[in-house]
Amino acid sequence: MEDYMSGSEEDYYSSDREDSLDGLENDESDSKFVQYKAPSCKVITKESLLSAQREDLRRVMELLSVREQHARTLLIHYRWDVEKLIAVYVEKGKACIFAGAGVTAVEIVNLDPPEASSTVTCNICMEDVSATGVTNMDCGHCFCNSCWTEHFIVKINEGQSKRIRCMAHKCNDICDEAIVRKLVSEKHPDLAEKFDRFLLESYIEDNKMVKWCPSIPHCGNAIRVENDEFCEVECLCGLQFCFSCLSETHSPCSCLMWELWTKKCRDESETVNWMTVHTKPCPKCHKPVEKNGGCNLVSCICGQAFCWLCGGATGRNHTWSNITNHSCGRYKEDSEKMAKRAKRDLYRYMHYHNRYKAHTDSFKQESRLRETVKEKVSNLEATDSKLRDFSWITNGLCRLFRSRRALSYSYPFAFYMFGDDFFKDEMTEKEREIKQHLFEDQQQQLESNVEKLSKFLEEPFDEYPEEQVMQIRMQVINLTVITDDLCKKMYECIENDLLGSLQFTIHNIAPYQSKGIERAAELAIGWSTQAGSIKKCQKADGQANGCIIESDVPSASGISDESEHSSRKRARKGSFESSLFDLNLPAKFN
């Protein structure tokens, strides 16, 4: 792939490139679409929730040789960040992470095993209970079963299922989930189910790599990303969203930029801003009045005259020259500067917003192309043409959608990148200018090619003679490759030259996905699982894990693939993580 790109690079920018393309290259570009990379995100459904966390649990269980419930307690404490847990383990040792998470893994050897006949006084209810009716927690504290049960019920109802501490004062230990489950289910099976669900859903709630799909109404799925939380995904339900901020996909805008942009568009704050600086309300009809002449005696269309400086109503004979005690005179310069600035800001916003809007609208209109293009293809298929493969049309259409989106979001990006909101202190005026030119060159190239692609796809080529269709085919194939490459280049420019070189601010953007937003793959379920059947699955451990490993292996190779195109900031982070990954790879494959 690398060779292919560098080999034909110079052709991308030459105006006539028909001759440089031959059939071979077309095939290659087609195959690019077929060759899917292993998915880097997975859908977790209600059914696969348990098997999704098996891998993490198993890693911790093997590493620290602890039982599953302890691994879970540790992982909940470390918010399912296995790497973090391992890092702390390596640095501070087992005892430290155990104490921090409230796990006692030391096997308590009961020195005097209770005889069935003996009785123990429970320190909670202060009753004498037979030794068979009490339970020892791992921390060594022993209370009667009914007190434990009451305690668990209160805590589960308080929503603290994930961290039920021992009843003893100042004991930090988390109660063994197996004991909780056993005791609670005897009295309240429904509550035990709730407890299990809380534990299971902790994997989603407390895990920054897993998030609920934001669909409304909720589809019930969650998405897990494998290595980079700054990405765009598509859930099984069809919703595409930015994994990081859960709003619509918006790369190459960063999440913060996007948030501000949508807010700005919503309140049109610039217009209001300009109006407040540039107009004054008429004291009579309260309409905003803009001054169009030099005199500060303004008259509104309603006939009311007023002083522009103080905004007060005047008679027609009130003139600037005889207004005494007007101290606002010396602020005039300031206010004029402010007005200029507000006007400039508004024009700037309008420039970017108009283009953003235009491309978004085009995108919407082009969505209709999907239908007409289908028609055209079937028309062409009906003819006796020697052309049999029409994938170039659908490929071109996909490319058009993809590039159009990138293009429209590149405008809000540019608005913030080269505006004063974020990076004013990070770049000098000169640097900013250079960068802006660099970026705009790329953006404009992309734009003109996207428009060309759109034009060709909209042509009624199914009615054309075959020769002309062949020409259009050539153009479309060519433009498809070019826009893809230009998009990639624009993202690279943003990640490396623009955002990557910033010193103080970190803006992460979702990487460019040539094939469109990645559809999350369904996680392989190794065992039919339900909330509450954790034990059952423990037995099926090997089986369940086997499935996950299988599906995870290709995605591991995807990591290295991905990092090629990542920004420097991400790359740094990525390499750190992947080194940790490597550390554990043998364990994973064993």
Binding site: I124, C125, M126, C147, E150, I153, V154, M167, A168, H169
Partner: protein, 195 residues
């Protein structure tokens, strides 16, 4: 449902060593063990010394698995106790409660709070400010409040009547009010003020 068997035992246990601890817990009425009244002596060497502080205790249904609700019935000047409502800011009465704690241990903790205020985590911002900025005045106010509100039990009925009459209430009304509140001077004052 409150575990009344345990509460009963706790009361016995607590009142058994009243002589040593000075801490007493009594049911407000015999019929209902969920409403109790605790009494703690002001710790020695503090402005609360010599005072006897009453604490309202309400046991929630989940007791002892949920913490008892406690608040001062006696007015007290302390950074972690509301000078208005008597609400107490103490971790073991909230998230640090453990079913292994008892009413007595909780009251002991409250007593310990009296000797060791934590002005950085205040319940009453005004008191906490004074504690931090003007410690002598704080000590003075705390002492005054102790003498005025926590040591009244030492006064005889006539003394109480005299004190209230001096405040400007008619004697007959003072006497009837004092009777209606079992001779509690503070409650009588409150009643008189509210009309």
């Amino acid at each position: 449902m409150v575990d009344f068997a345990r509460v009963q035992k706790e009361l016995q246990e607590c009142n058994r060593d009243f002589e040593v601890s000075g801490i007493k817990v009594m049911p407000k009425s015999d019929a209902n063990l969920a409403h109790l009244l605790g009494t703690i002596p002001g710790p020695l060497g503090t402005p609360y010394e010599g005072g006897s502080f009453k604490i309202d205790i309400t046991l929630p249904d989940g007791y002892p698995f949920e913490p008892p609700k406690m608040q001062f019935a006696t007015k007290v000047w302390h950074p972690n106790i509301s000078s208005q409502s008597g609400a107490i800011c103490l971790d073991i009465l909230k998230d640090q409660w453990s079913p292994a704690l008892t009413l007595k241990t909780a009251l002991l903790s409250v007593q310990a709070l009296l000797s060791a205020p934590e002005p950085d985590d205040p319940q009453d911002a005004v008191v906490a400010q004074q504690y931090l900025r003007d410690y002598p005045t704080f000590m003075g106010t705390a002492r005054y409040w102790t003498e005025a509100f926590a040591m009244t039990s030492s006064l005889g009925v006539e003394d109480k009547v005299l004190k209230l009459v001096e405040m400007g209430f008619p004697e007959a009304l003072v006497r009837s009010t004092l009777v209606s509140v079992d001779g509690d001077e503070n409650m009588a004052l409150e009643k008189l003020c509210s009309g």
